[in-house]
Symmetry: C2
Subunit: 345 residues, 2 copies
């Protein structure tokens, strides 16, 4: 019955998320999850949640949650979209900001979900190759794309790109620049929110998955001009964020200092591990995120090292694409987990 | 900056959900929410939920939840897709089963979200007019559509269509027939699951929103052949159902008899209210759902009655489309709420 299915869907390869193994005793450094738990306010919100209210539909436009985000980020609620994870925000942005038969553009390498989403939305995907050190490069002026997906800090490299370069790109790019700041809370206070506030063609996308330790909840949001935000609203499922997720996200956003304390701890661990790996002859890409992108010393291969670590119950991430196949991406865990990782190396 | 937005999105009119007013003392009979709370197992699941596990991503394919659904419905887990509400299931089905430039078909009237989803997915929408009594009519044999969206019981009428007619339709329709059974638990044990099990081009879609009293949670699912289900999986967001929703849905599905008891109570109330409205000269469409579709006696107008009820703090639903504008849709509440409704009439 294959002919019942849309041809582009038949050919689609779904995104491969990092493994979520059930084995006990595993040190899981493969999906950039936060090793610290969410704020105690989250636990309280769950325990106190009036379960009987689940019989009612959620607020379809997340009024309270968007109000809180708007307050934190210093924008109007009309400038905030809340989604079922930033996955939803990214999917809707591709749909809203590329014409039929159009394309999105992104650096290579970057978040491996982007080309999957572009294929699902049946638009082209233009790769702008990054230099050997994965640092900034100005995309060509004649890029024919409706949307530039710019992860900053970039994944899987962790490199942070200067706001001035992104501002210059937004100034000359004819479409929308979406700055995906999933990891920005580990970047030492730098971000592109000012750009999203000033420029009608810039959206900033955030998530509570990493820094707020809520990957299990699926809350992402976008900040930008009311016109761009309005387009996302038109396309979203009617009730895209459930009641519990709205309530728990509000609780987490009421305790920003908990997130910041965890981010600080994590950054300290990251810098310590980066220094140690440097000393051991690894090439360590400068990271502003909650992971390190590392190349083993000459004579060792990333794929082999991945397998050897796996054999010692340490799970990291290996991306076999041309630009990433000599590297491993290692999420930053607790100090104890990272010591075990260093010992296993 | 309107030129940043895809033309079809600029022209899109988002679905209008029923109002969710905050006013106290309102009797809310407008969005088909269940008047009874979800199972006590839901409340327990929330209270006992280990909040620290929210730092980890959810199971991207809802293994445990789909296993439970498969067990209840007597199918293999590969025949079950779980989504962020049946909204997501419907959206993905339109995408997966219509070719670019193709169309979906549906009866008129039916669930008013269908044409909104078709427009968002940039496919056509073919309306098959129902007869005056909203009963079954065989869609034309030459219907050029990849997908037939068939709400059964239908919305907003509540009419249940015979399985034999749907089987015959599936036999001659060249595309996929999606039977949207959002309200089927109020239909006295009749459903189209056997069809979804037997026929490779039939999907049945269910939701926990109505009968399980979990509209606030967003859990929908589809049952069908592994080929159709696999296409939905390819298109979904990577982590479409969050950890809490998976856990709470599992708890609710562990207590099916709670749902069935509530459904029985609600059906008894529905029949009592239908009888009373008949006696008062209303035309009452025979309903197999948790709502009634009623036409006021000659001399009164549905729009006026809607406004008068609103003035008495009773909120029902009015659809101003040509086929529905002389009717009101009234969700079935508790006996006390329905008595207040009858008194206000």
């Amino acid at each position: 019955m294959k002919n019942l299915i849309r041809p582009s869907v038949r050919e689609l390869t779904a995104y491969t998320p990092g493994e979520q193994p059930k084995a006990a005793g595993l040190i899981k450094l493969n999906t950039n999850e936060n090793p610290y738990p969410p704020s105690p306010a989250v636990s309280r919100a769950l325990k106190e949640y009036p379960a009987e209210s689940l019989r009612l539909y959620p607020d379809p436009v997340c009024t309270e949650l968007r109000g809180r985000i708007a307050e934190i980020q210093g924008v109007a609620p009309e400038q905030v979209f809340a989604g079922n994870g930033s996955d939803e925000v990214l999917r809707l942005a591709i749909r809203a900001f590329t014409p039929p038969g159009g394309a999105v553009a992104a650096f290579d390498p970057t978040y491996s979900l982007y080309p999957v989403l572009a294929a699902a939305e049946e638009v082209g995907y233009l790769r702008v190759p990054l230099p050997e050190d994965f640092g900034w490069t100005a995309p060509p002026a004649d890029l024919k794309a409706g949307l530039f997906l710019l992860a900053n800090p970039n994944a899987p490299t962790g490199v942070f790109y200067p706001q001035e370069e992104i501002a210059a790109l937004a100034g000359r790019f004819p479409g929308v620049v979406l700055v995906d700041e999933a990891y920005v809370d580990f970047a030492g206070g730098r971000d592109c929110l000012a750009l999203a506030k000033e420029r009608p063609n810039v959206l900033v996308c955030r998530t509570l998955s990493k820094s707020f330790s809520l990957a299990g909840l699926r809350i992402g949001y976008a900040v930008g001009s009311p016109e761009l935000i309005g387009a996302l609203f038109k396309l979203k499922d009617s009730y895209n964020v459930d009641r519990l997720a709205q309530a728990v996200a509000l609780a987490a956003l009421g305790d920003v200092s908990w997130m910041q304390d965890n981010a600080r701890r994590l950054v300290a661990t990251r810098e310590r591990v980066a220094g140690e790996l440097n000393r051991r002859g690894f090439r360590v890409t400068p990271s502003a995120a909650n992971f390190l992108f590392i190349e083993p010393p000459a004579g060792d291969s990333a794929a082999d090292l991945f397998a050897r670590l796996r054999g010692r119950n340490i799970l990291v991430r290996y991306f076999p694409a041309p630009r990433t196949k000599s590297f491993l991406r290692v999420s930053i865990g607790t100090d104890a987990q990272m010591d075990a990782f260093l010992a296993a190396l």
